[in-house]
Amino acid sequence: MTQLELQKVSKFFGGLAAISRLDLQVQQGEIIGLIGPNGAGKTTTFNVITGELRPNEGEVIFEGQDITGLRPHQVATLGIVRTYQLVTLFPGYTALKNVLVGLHLGARIGFAEAILNSRSHQRKELHLYRQAQEILNFFNLQAVADEPAENLPHGLQRKLGVAIALAARPKMLLLDEPLTGMNPNEVLEMIATIRRIRDRNGITVVVVEHNMRAVMALCERIVVINFGVRIAEGAPQDIQANKQVVEAYLGSDSHAA
């Protein structure tokens, strides 16, 4: 079943097309990779999907609903949650608090009860707290739960970023370069975690990543874009064999190594 569909989406910056008439289908429950050289328009695609940018033309359809031009928090409410290319966390908060913020959509706490601090409110808080703990456990972050996020080493920060996104109970996760700056061990662990997220919760995952080997290992399907245009699509082995892709991208990019 097609969960997310981009139909002829274009986004221009001052006359330059960052993406141009891009079509993209994402199936329910798959892990799909979005690759392309620097400036190919991958992050712009994410921005358009999550509503941070409004496309100049085309439509974004999620589960049969036109979500073009919705505000980011509305898109998140519908179930699409993203992470960012650069590590984006709430730096001053502890890891646990970071996840607690991520749990926002499930919180449902009213203003009055929060002010009055009623029993039911305290129960809700405790419940949220347990959920946050579970998520930290899932990512094996329980040991650093009380450490401010800004003090964590890079690899753990990346993980925490995904944990925050997962806390928002997405139907679809958009991960923007989740593996950058990680050492090989961490990469393997992250790949396993992403697979587990999909397998356990049936969450669709879209990954933008430069680490080719990891992408090939992780993704079931890969879409290649260049200059905002889709140039190839298929299983990892097909992409590796695709001449056009090799010419445009793999051959000229050191990441392909």
Partner: protein, 350 residues
């Protein structure tokens, strides 16, 4: 892996946190009980007045600081205090309402205006918000000045009645003929306001406000409607400030457009910075210390602005955390070695 630590019992810690909160709540309760006993000891109208003025200024300043903490440079606190004062005075004097209805109504009216101003402007970065809130304040002053009916024009409104008497038959009558009565009302208002702000900060709402400040893009990405939260904080704080404004009007019996000029907001900004805005207690300390200083040095008041602004500059440059960070700083000097150890631990790559 140097950072593996014994896994504490999470749930236990959480409950422990709550216990700690309850403990601090006890301290506050003690402080308030102490403040409640003051009028029994202190008979001088002057000292009561100083304390009353301090109480409503604490309300102004803490609500102001809360708006600042949502990342907005608010420059129109005076506007909302003014709305509160004028609205409740008009409701009491023209519509014949009871003060006890008019005060919350004034708060609601101010909150309504805050929503009206907040929605279009809060999505912009600080400075536009500052200009609009300031301009809004001056627009209101213009309206008070120009419309003698019902706002009294530049001469203001005088002979404002005090709050309606409360009588519990056979037990007690509070008719606001004495300062003591106002004192308890101001104290109660301050406690309620501080409690609401405290809960706002401690609860999930505080968590979200902080998250918006720390990283608004990420907050949006996990489904937080930033606008709603900012407007909520703006409206609640403006409403509370307006209720204090309403108290002020019925306490001084006289208001005029002059009372609600941008000077008030600038004073609040100074209290906030000098006390330290990181923590809630900071702004209270700032307000109390500066107002006390103002009273002690009342005879030299043409140097007061000089003193206040000089103090502000010094604090900004040498003590960015404000007065409240002073004790922490002093203890840290003592335990610097320990601190360094900690740094080492932090910088140690995993």
């Amino acid at each position: 892996m140097t950072r593996v630590r014994p896994d504490p019992d999470r749930q236990g810690k959480f409950l422990g946190e709550m216990k700690a909160q309850q403990k601090s709540r006890l301290y506050f309760l003690g402080l308030f009980v102490l403040l409640g006993l003051v009028p029994l000891v202190l008979r001088s109208e002057y000292y009561l007045h100083v304390l009353i003025a301090m109480f409503y200024h604490v309300i102004y300043a803490t609500t102001y600081r809360f708006i600042l903490r949502t990342g907005q440079f608010h420059f129109g606190a005076h506007a909302f205090v003014g709305i509160g004062a004028y609205a409740s005075v008009l409701l009491v004097m023209r519509a014949g309402w009871s003060f006890w209805l008019a005060m919350p109504a004034a708060g609601l009216i101010a909150a309504f205006f805050a929503v009206l101003i907040g929605y279009p402007t809060l999505r912009l970065k600080g400075i536009y918000f500052a200009i609009i809130t300031w301009g809004f304040g001056d627009t209101l002053r213009f309206i008070y000045m120009r419309f003698k009916e019902p706002f009294g024009g530049p001469l203001g409104i005088f002979a404002i009645p005090g709050p309606n008497p409360i009588t519990i038959p056979g037990l007690i009558t509070i008719d606001f003929s004495q300062k003591t009565h106002f004192y308890f009302l101001a104290l109660a208002l301050m406690i309620v306001t501080l409690y609401i702000l405290h809960r706002m900060e401690q609860s999930r709402f505080g968590l979200i406000f902080g998250a918006i400040r720390e990283g608004d893009r990420l907050a949006r990405a996990v489904g937080i409607n930033i606008m709603n939260y900012k407007v909520l904080a703006f409206a609640v704080c403006s409403g509370l400030g307006a209720m204090a404004g309403s108290f002020y009007a019925h306490y001084t019996y006289y208001i005029s457009p002059l009372d609600f000029s941008v000077l008030l907001t600038i004073y609040l900004a100074i209290y906030t910075v000098v006390g330290g805005q990181e923590r809630y207690a900071g702004v209270i300390v700032g307000t109390v210390v500066l107002m006390l200083a103002g009273e002690v040095f009342a005879g030299y008041s043409h140097y007061q602005l000089l003193m206040y602004s000089g103090f502000l500059i010094v604090i900004l440059l040498f003590l960015p955390g404000g007065l409240i960070s002073l004790p922490g700083l002093l203890t840290r000097v003592g335990s610097r070695a320990e601190e360094k150890e900690g740094e080492k631990f932090r910088n140690d790559p995993a």
